[in-house]
């Protein structure tokens, strides 16, 4: 490690710092400080970033990154995100506009409103017709009378047109397709098989691309927008630290996108519970997650009912009672940490406090609500603090107060931040200093980060280039390093998944590890090298890279991106 750091220095600096380098607590020289800052506060440096930071002054640049609201956003990013309309929808709107087949049936039965956009409505109806036809062909039941009939492609297009869609280049297929009258386009997309849609994808303009995904399954649009947006922001945002922190805090309060209703709840969760608070007060962030339908659903609290509550008539014979899933993870993963001094009894008591914190119709994108009749109104004792009987919804809020202000939480959060930003095994001195700031500032995250960026540990030889990049960091930093132009990010997010970090899809509430060791293994290295070569060779769909484009491509850029040095930050 020490020698690696020396390798990039000139001989003179090398001699000057030799004795200092023997001590990993020694401070890195000035020109490495910009590299260190870019490596840790961003998803990797782009060409020209270091010069820009130098021109502005490192201290000022860090301060600006800590105040993202003062940084004008990259218009290129804003234009790309504009296409992804689901990012701005409420959960309820998502369910309505990008429904599952089951929900469409409810719409058709008049139990739910249809999408507002007429073209989307038609596409979704066709999708259901196709689905029902398939069911009927399976030999179970004939399609109900009056149901829309699915059309075959041959009923819509001429044999020549179909041939053109099967055989041309993606550009030719799209051109032919776009020459069709609009209603035929909608009919045709609905009737196409997935491979035909896939073949058009690469050349399709954004609007058509969305229709193609929609035809695969409306709810896929929601998931694609979410993962694409994460990648696009990591690559293009001027508010890099803000994006690094959204990733950090989402991962801290992790939710698995594929758990039932969370498919529709995570978009709003990241936008409204995580993003506004990543540099704010920890207590606010904690409460926003605690009251988010996404978390209530993911950790089952929405169904947790006081054991002493009589079963209501509306619940039929469904058994009801306490569910301690959220209570445990709140203490272990969100606040105190596993060694934070709580007992099984505390877990159960916390779970009792949160009974009644539920969701109004989660499957329809409903909101947080407190259901007094499901709440256990007895007295509770949490970490030695008595919560008197009859507190109702305030019981849960008191628990959040207790755990947010517990010194174990200050330490646990500080250590986790230091592990992400400074070193795999952060020094106790650093964690202590950050935890003190946490306590003194009433859990002000910006203050804790400022303390960390001002620490000698952050600028130490031991920390410099000591972290292995996570898959997201590797992929985003590679695209940034070569100034790649991303048209759509699906292939990139797919790569991140291949490298072991499927975005929004860590099933366990622990989130992904912040430690280098997690990402250092043979499967990962082979995949990283292959990705580096593909990217440099312009073989990653949706991404264009400038570079040597001779008949025999020069691999130098790919080699650099797949090199051991590039895997570190």
């Amino acid at each position: 490690m020490r020698r690696a750091a020396l390798g990039v220095l000139g001989t003179i600096v090398c001699l000057a710092t030799f004795s200092a380098a023997a001590n990993k607590n020694a401070q890195i020289p000035k020109d490495q400080r910009i590299t260190q800052a870019l490596n840790r506060l961003t998803f990797g440096a782009r060409p020209g970033d270091a010069a820009a930071v130098r021109a502005m002054g490192l201290k000022k640049w860090i301060d600006l990154q800590l105040h993202p609201e003062r940084i004008p956003e990259n218009p290129l990013l804003e234009a790309k995100l504009k296409e992804l309309d689901t990012l701005r929808m409420s959960s309820e709107e998502l369910v309505r506009n990008y429904p599952t087949p089951q929900m469409v049936k409810q719409m058709m039965a008049g139990q739910m409103p249809f999408p507002t956009d007429p073209e989307r409505r038609v596409l979704i109806e066709k999708l259901v017709a196709k689905y029902e036809n398939k069911q009927a062909a399976g030999g179970t039941t004939p399609p109900p009378p009056g149901a829309p009939q699915a059309q075959a492609l041959r009923d819509i297009l001429s044999p020549e047109q179909i041939r053109a869609l099967r055989q041309g280049t993606p550009e030719q297929r799209v051109a032919m397709f776009q020459a069709l009258p609009l209603e035929k386009q909608v009919d045709a997309i609905g009737a196409m098989g997935a491979p035909m849609r896939q073949a058009m994808f690469a050349a399709a303009p954004p609007e058509l691309r969305r229709k193609l995904i929609l035809a695969n399954g409306p709810q896929q649009v929601v998931q694609r927008d979410l993962t694409d947006a994460k990648m696009l922001r990591a690559i293009y945002s001027n508010r890099q630290l803000d994006e690094v922190l959204v990733d950090f805090w989402f991962n801290h309060f992790n939710i698995y996108l594929d758990k039932g209703a969370d498919r529709y709840l995570v978009t709003e969760y990241e936008r409204e519970a995580i993003r506004p608070h990543v540099l704010g007060k920890f207590r606010d962030l904690l409460e926003a997650t605690a009251k988010s339908p996404a978390m209530l659903f993911y950790l089952d609290n929405w169904q947790s009912v006081g054991a002493n509550v009589p079963a209501g008539r509306s619940q039929g014979n469904r058994r009801r009672g306490l569910n301690e899933n959220y209570g445990r993870e709140l203490l272990e993963l969100h606040t105190l940490g596993v060694d934070g001094g709580y007992t099984q009894k505390d877990v159960t008591e916390v779970a009792r406090c949160f009974t009644g914190w539920t969701i109004n119709q989660p499957q329809r994108g409903g909101k947080f609500t407190f259901a007094p009749r499901q709440h256990d109104n007895g007295e509770k004792v949490v970490l030695g603090v008595t919560i008197p009987a009859g507190g109702g919804m305030e019981d849960g809020e008191k628990v959040l107060d207790i755990v947010a202000h517990n010194p174990a939480t200050a330490r646990f959060i500080s250590r986790k931040l230091a592990q992400r930003f400074v070193a795999d095994e952060p020094a106790a001195s650093l964690v202590d200093a950050m935890a003190q700031t946490f306590v003194k500032s009433d859990g002000d995250i910006r203050a804790v980060l400022t303390a960390m960026f001002n620490s000698k540990e952050f600028w130490s030889v031991g920390a410099y280039r000591s972290k292995m990049k996570s898959p997201l960091e590797m992929v985003a930093s590679a695209v940034r390093a070569v100034n790649g132009d991303v048209d759509y990010a699906f292939a990139l997010t797919n790569q991140v998944a291949q490298l072991g970090e499927p975005l929004y899809r860590k099933q366990e509430p622990t989130g992904y590890s912040n430690s280098s060791q997690e990402w250092l293994n043979s499967a990962g290295l082979v995949a990283r090298m292959n990705f580096a070569l593909q990217l440099a060779d312009n073989k990653v769909p949706g991404v264009k890279v400038e570079g040597p484009q001779a008949a025999k491509p020069d691999d130098a850029q790919g080699i650099a991106l797949g090199s051991p040095e590039f895997q570190k930050r």
Binding site: A4, E508, V526, I559
Partner: protein, 414 residues
């Protein structure tokens, strides 16, 4: 790592690394370097998320079980009528398998499958993360252990060792296999290569010469393993004896482990995991043969049974062992699910295994018999099971190095 070992490994690999080494040579180099020819193989399976052992191996002879689980129990084997398909498959008059595990019954009958019940980690934690960590490190309660039990149980060989002697299927190397001995992870045998030969050579040089010790070591292991697997990469693999693996990540993992074993590339240890067992809500469907746990067990049991069928006679020196970080509450919770508990069950399967028997002392499920009044109590330490299998494996009897501070008490499983 001794100098001698490095020398032999490298010189052997130099030939293999040229890419032209015929299969017989790789086999000769790695598989038959010791008297006794073929290596024994230990395969460890981790069920992440805490599988509900009480609904996997059902104590249908225990009255309290049905009292604790009014809506998510598996009916007694004697259940008739339309509940027959949901009933437990009787093993010994007291325990039964969940109906989704029917494909494992023939193994039990042939005495190739043993079950250990009320087994697990003595550490009281109910944290998934800590409990997995302890079970993988093999040192319950000790967080400082930096390696996994499986890595430590690789025999310290003075001679040639295969670069694929320890393989985990998946995108990351699990804690179980981390440590000083070479161990690799791979997602698919077919894709485990740098797809540009010239670039691959440059990468290899860069990683071999990296000043970062961790990247250098992992890079070396990776390139050695890639050369080793080149020969089998292009072959398509057809499971033997009509075995059909489920089309799932876990099915894929076991199929590839079978391929690696039959390729005789010197693999001694393999690891695969299967996640998603954390069923706090609706663990079973309206019927015991439906719902989340039933579906997962179909995949799990189907894959294990296919592996056994595929391996055929080769199973004589292969042992598979399964584990999960802890069990779940003996009583169901308010949402037809179960919360985090304590003891669980483990499976051991293989030619050496004395199967057809449930090992371990059953602690009972009456209130006063439960651990902390809520969970199945623990009567067997998971290291007793793993220790015995490791000792049976390629002559590594130095268990104090594998499970420091603990002396495994053998159950007579093998």
């Amino acid at each position: 790592m001794s100098t001698r070992r490095i020398f032999l490994r490298n010189s052997a690999l130099a030939m293999v690394g040229m890419g032209s080494a015929p299969m017989w040579l790789t086999r000769a180099l790695y598989a038959k370097d010791e008297p006794g020819a073929r290596k024994k193989v230990l395969v460890a399976i981790f069920q992440r998320g805490a599988a509900d052992g009480l609904n996997v191996v059902v104590p249908h002879g225990e009255k309290a079980y049905y009292g604790l689980r009014p809506t998510i129990s598996v009916p007694r084997p004697s259940a008739g009528g339309d509940r027959q398909q949901d009933a437990a498959i009787d093993l010994d008059g007291f325990f039964g398998l969940h109906p989704s595990l029917a494909p494992l019954k023939p193994l039990w009958d042939k005495q190739h499958l043993a079950i250990v019940d009320a087994v697990g980690s003595p550490d009281p934690t109910r944290s998934h993360f800590d409990a997995q960590d302890y079970m993988e490190s093999g040192t319950p309660g000790l967080k400082a252990t930096d390696s996994g039990w499986m890595n430590r149980s690789l025999p310290k060989s003075a001679g040639k060792v295969s670069p694929v002697r320890a393989v985990a299927l998946g995108a990351t190397l699990p804690r179980t296999l981390r440590g000083s001995e070479a161990a690799i992870s791979l997602q698919s045998i077919g894709n485990f290569q740098v797809k540009n030969a010239a670039a691959a050579k440059q990468f290899e040089d860069m990683y071999m010469n990296s000043k970062d010790a961790r990247l250098q070591a992992t890079g070396r292991e990776t390139f050695e393993a890639v050369s080793m697997l080149q020969a089998i990469q292009r072959q398509s693999y057809t499971p033997a004896n009509g075995a059909e693996y489920p089309r799932s990540k876990f099915g894929d993992s076991l199929r590839q482990i079978a391929q690696l074993i039959k390729s005789e590339v010197g693999m001694e240890m393999a690891f695969a995991d299967v996640g998603g067992w954390d069923h706090h809500v609706n663990e079973l469907g309206a019927r015991a043969s439906e719902g989340q746990l039933a579906n997962m067990l179909r995949d799990y049991g189907g894959a294990l049974a296919a592996f056994w069928q595929d391996m055929g006679d080769r199973m004589s020196d292969v042992t598979v062992v399964t584990m999960s970080e802890f069990g779940r509450t003996a009583h169901e919770n308010g949402n037809r699910g179960t919360d985090h508990g304590h003891a669980n069950c483990m499976f051991a399967m293989g030619g050496d295994v004395k199967g057809g028997k449930v090992y371990g002392k059953w602690p009972g499920l009456e209130k006063e018999q439960l651990y902390e009044g809520r969970d199945l109590a623990l009567t067997t330490d998971f290291r007793d099971v793993l220790g015995e299998l490791v000792a049976n494996q390629a002559g590594n009897a130095k268990l104090q190095g594998v499970f420091p501070g603990y002396a495994p008490k053998f159950l007579g499983l093998v």
